[in-house]
Symmetry: C2
Subunit: 267 residues, 2 copies
Amino acid sequence: MRRTITGFSNPTVKSLRALRDKKHRRREGKFLAEGLRLLTDARESGRLPEMLVMADERDDHPLLSALIDDVEAAGGEIVETAPDILSKITGKDNPQAVIGVFEEFDTALAQIDRSAAPIWLVAQALRDPGNLGTMLRTGDAVGAGGLILIDDCADPFSAEAVRASMGAVFTQRIAQAPWDAFIAWLRTGEQAQLVAASLRDAVPYRGAAYRAPCFILVGNESRGLPEEYEASCDLRVTMPMRGRADSLNAAVAAAVLSYEVLATLES
Amino acid sequence: MRRTITGFSNPTVKSLRALRDKKHRRREGKFLAEGLRLLTDARESGRLPEMLVMADERDDHPLLSALIDDVEAAGGEIVETAPDILSKITGKDNPQAVIGVFEEFDTALAQIDRSAAPIWLVAQALRDPGNLGTMLRTGDAVGAGGLILIDDCADPFSAEAVRASMGAVFTQRIAQAPWDAFIAWLRTGEQAQLVAASLRDAVPYRGAAYRAPCFILVGNESRGLPEEYEASCDLRVTMPMRGRADSLNAAVAAAVLSYEVLATLES
C-alpha cells in the first residue's frame, strides 16, 4: 500500500517521531532503522519493515527499488512525504533518508537455542547504546548466536544501538533477562560455559580452557561486574594491562575475548 | 591564584564555552577535561590544568583538594562560580562538576620516539571522536606509545575523545600528520613495521610475523584504508569474519589486532 503524507500534523509523523523515545518504542513494540544500507542488510537477513518512509523527491537506486518491491509484496506500507517533513521525522537534513519501521523482536530467553552457535555474548547493565550496537556487530563477526542483556541495559532498539550494530541487530538473537533468570536458564539443559572478563581471581585470557557453547560476560562500563556474578562464572579471565588504566572499553573487552575464544574453539 | 566568577557574561565563561568548539580550541591551543577522575588521572600522569573551574557550593573530596593544591602550587588558576554558571559552561546539570583547562600538546611527528614503545597505533581519517578516544584507551592498555592521526581525523582534544580515552589522552603520545609526511618519517631512522587491518591480499592476523616497533594502522569507519596506503604497509592482516558483515568497528579492529601483536611480541 502506498500513501503520501502532506502535513506536519499527520498522526503518522507524530508517531514516527515518538519512536525515538524508548518508552514509546516499548509501548508500540516497534523501532526505527534508518538508511538504505542498514535496510538492505535487514532485507537480506529476511527482515522487512512493516512501513518504509522516504521523500517524494529522491534519487532512484536499485537497492531502494528492490526494498520497496519486497515491502509491498509482504503487505507493508510505503509512505512518501515532503523532504522537510522527512527531516522532522529523522531529525536530520538528508532528503535521501529512508526509514523503516520494524516490529520489535521477541527477546525472551526461551528464544535462544544455545546449540545454534559456539559463542554467545552477555552484557550486564551496559549503559551505552553505542557499545551495545558494537557488541552486536562483533558478535556477527565472530559467528556468535546473539547478545543477552542482563539487568538494566541500554535499549538494543534505540537508533544509536541499531546504527552501531551495522545490521547485526537483524542477524543476532537478542534476549533480555534479570541475572537470576539468566543463570537459572543457563544451568538447565545442555552444559554451557560462562566466562567473565574480570580482574578478580582470574587466569590469563590467552590459552584459557574455553569450550562451546561459550557465554562471554562483560559488565557495566564504570562498575564492572558485581562480585557475586563473577563468582557464578565457570572461568574468569583477564587481559594484560600494561598502562595506567585497569580496564578496557566494554565493547573492546568483549571483542578481544571473543576473538580469543573463536581462535581456541576453531583450533 | 583564586578568583570567583559571578556573572554569566564574564569573558572567562564565554571563552570556556567556546572551547567546546574545535575551531576555537585550535585558535586558543587549549582543551577541556571534565570530571574529578579524569583530572586525577591527568595529575597522576604529571599533567596539570592551567585553570580549574568548579562550583562554589560543592562537596569536599580529598582528591579535589589535592588537585587544587597542585594546580595552585604550579601557578595555575582556581576559578569558583555559581552552580548555574557552571552548568552553562559544561552544558550539564551537575554542581559537582570540575573542569580543567589544558594546553594542547605538541602533535608534531618529531615528538614521537619510536623506540620508546613496542606498539604504536595509527588511525587514518577516523571520524568518530569516541572511536579515537577508545583507541587511546586501548593503546594505554597494551603498552603502546601513542596514536598517530593521519589525514582528516576527529579532534583528539574534543570532549568526547578525551572522555572516551579515560585519561589515556594524558599518557599516550598524540601526533597528527598527512600520509606522505608520516610515511617519509616512518621510513627514516630505526626500521619500523607498518601493519594494516585489511581485506586485500592479507594474511591471517593470528600468527603473523609482527615485530617491534609495530605500527598498527586502521582506516576510516566507512571507507577503510585507501588501496595505495595498504600497498605501502609491510604486512596486511585480516581477522576472521564469520557472519554477514565484512568489517569490525575501527576501534575494535585496532584492539583485537593490538592484543595479538602484544602477545606475539611478548612470547
